[in-house]
Symmetry: C2
Subunit: 339 residues, 2 copies
């Protein structure tokens, strides 16, 4: 069983997960060409993963080929659903059991079809899988936050190359999430406008950092980008929770992802990257909650962080990032790129 | 000129530094064997760097061979000393000029002598260089924080393999530093004891996470380690500012670094790592300062972060880290390793 431990000074939590050490390793420099033969996520290998939790299928029975998108428990989970939190002290420190959930969204049965190469309908099914899993996990009273993310490439943390995303649900609201929520609340308190609304308007008016726009979403390189070619995808409709996304918005988001990830892939020659979904923490209707004002303060959004350079001592020491490429340059390059 | 930009939601600053894009690049997979021939930090290549700002020499004149440790301005600086901050708005956002300092401490004239392979006196001279540069930079009223760090290996952010450390001084106190200071202050307010004093006592009493101890310092793997084999080196004497380090403490810290970095190198087969010095921000005697209580709240310390695995989407999204190796295991391994 993994363990959650809190740093006494910064209040940051870490997950100590010895089971993760047994994950299949990829060589950082030369991703194996043979891993397709033994891939547990390909069609036909359904028995090598835990049973499916959610599935979209064309044909076949449970845990058999014929599926389009498949969600399974992570075989090397950072957190597990079974057990009690048992929050307790250890000397002056705090710890609790590693309770939570860790799932894998296998985006396609085909090893080589990247997310942006799927049809709009295919991308939409992945986005729906994520919504459905969140709605289900929210029912577990122990869980406070549900993060969807996607690691592409070994240096971005992917241990398997088959296209997949992950969901981790945690029993506490993570510090980085809290900071975004508190920043958003403080902005609303001062201005009586949502900070994400103001950012959307500013980026549309300015235009220099815009990469792509459709009826539902704006994709731009953030003003204070930490990384070259960093992207933010922001919905135009005010909503704190990703799980409130409509069918129309799923189609619009699929279009935005297809265009912008294709552009990124072309511009940077198949970069390694992380995609992160920022959504509001799980709130309970029956209790007055610290996050009661989020529906007006905060808006869910996606971040894409290309991993062209690794954070170094300065970034670890300060939280400051040094970015050699102005976001205006990244955005112009991507905007003008013809697919 | 580089630019500092603030994120509107999280208040995190970034440095947009186009000049850094021209740094010499190393191939991540196969560090060049030939870079020794063209190394700007080796003895004899003094004219290829900016002139020395600080030096310890055996012989020779300024910017000539005969030096032991040499500090020069970074040729590709993230921040520059010249100019005014010109803090201003850009639409709804905030920016200022990239004012600050960015220096390189060349630790040895010999390309192949890593820090831990130097004599105790040699390591002590590097530690003294850092103290002297901090005392000098503190006199610049525009600077609020001075960070010393060391990147070892290309994946840890080093663009040159010659042993060196860096100093970056920033015109604002970085968010990650503030968080440590505020956590320390809050702990003192509740307990009337310094949190670092309590950690030192707890680690000595428990013993399971201790790697090495001498008269002046304790080296241990932190309870909530983010990375396998993460180390913290904590002075036994209460002091918020690294620049208050005594001659005796410099000798003791040199001993601690020599032993623990040698152990780490042996255990992990020359790992890439970041070393970070956490010290108090620059305080001004003449003005009442927000950080007035730091002398009792906070204690300077060193962090060593081996880069065995890269942070992935989950870490970027939450600030949570997943660490597969319990710090008790890392510490036992290092403690029992014979040099």
């Amino acid at each position: 069983m993994s363990e959650l431990r809190q740093d006494l000074v910064t209040e940051r939590w870490v997950i100590i997960a010895p089971e993760r050490a047994r994950r299949p390793a990829e060589n950082n420099c030369q991703p194996s060409k043979e891993d397709e033969a033994n891939c547990p996520f390909c069609a036909g290998a359904e028995k090598t993963t835990p049973p499916e939790i959610w599935v979209a299928r064309k044909s076949g029975g449970p845990n058999q080929p014929g599926w389009k998108v498949r969600v399974v428990a992570n075989k090397f989970p950072a957190l597990r659903v079974e057990g009690m939190l048992d929050r307790e002290g250890d000397g002056i420190y705090d710890r609790m059991n590693g309770i939570g959930a860790h799932e894998v969204i296998v985006e396609t049965p085909d090893h080589k079809t990247e997310l942006q190469d799927q049809t709009l309908e295919g991308i939409g099914t992945v986005l729906t899988a994520c919504k459905e899993r969140m709605l289900d996990l929210m029912r577990d009273d122990r869980l406070r936050y549900i993060l969807m993310f996607k690691n592409v490439g070994p240096q971005a943390g992917a241990s398997l190359s088959h296209p997949h995303s992950q969901i981790i649900a945690t029993p506490i609201t993570p510090s980085r999430v809290k900071r975004k929520l508190e920043g958003s609340r403080e902005y609303f308190r001062r201005k009586e406008r949502c900070v994400f609304h103001d950012i959307l308007r500013q980026e549309q008016r300015d235009g220099r950092r815009v990469v792509y726009e459709n009826g539902g979403f704006l994709c731009f390189c953030p003003f204070a980008s930490r990384f070259p070619f960093e992207l933010c995808i922001l919905p135009k409709r005010q909503a704190a929770d990703y799980h409130s996304i409509t069918t129309e918005e799923i189609a619009q988001l699929a279009d935005t992802l297809k265009v912008t990830l294709k552009k990124l892939t072309l511009a940077l020659n198949r970069p390694q990257y992380n995609l992160i979904l920022h959504t509001a923490p799980v709130r309970r209707a029956r209790r007055r909650d610290y996050w009661d004002t989020l529906d007006q303060d905060f808006r869910w959004h996606l971040e894409v962080l290309p991993r062209l350079a690794e954070p170094a001592g300065f970034e670890w020491g300060t939280g400051f990032h040094i970015n050699p490429t102005p976001p205006e340059d990244s955005a112009q390059y991507l905007r003008e790129l013809t697919l």
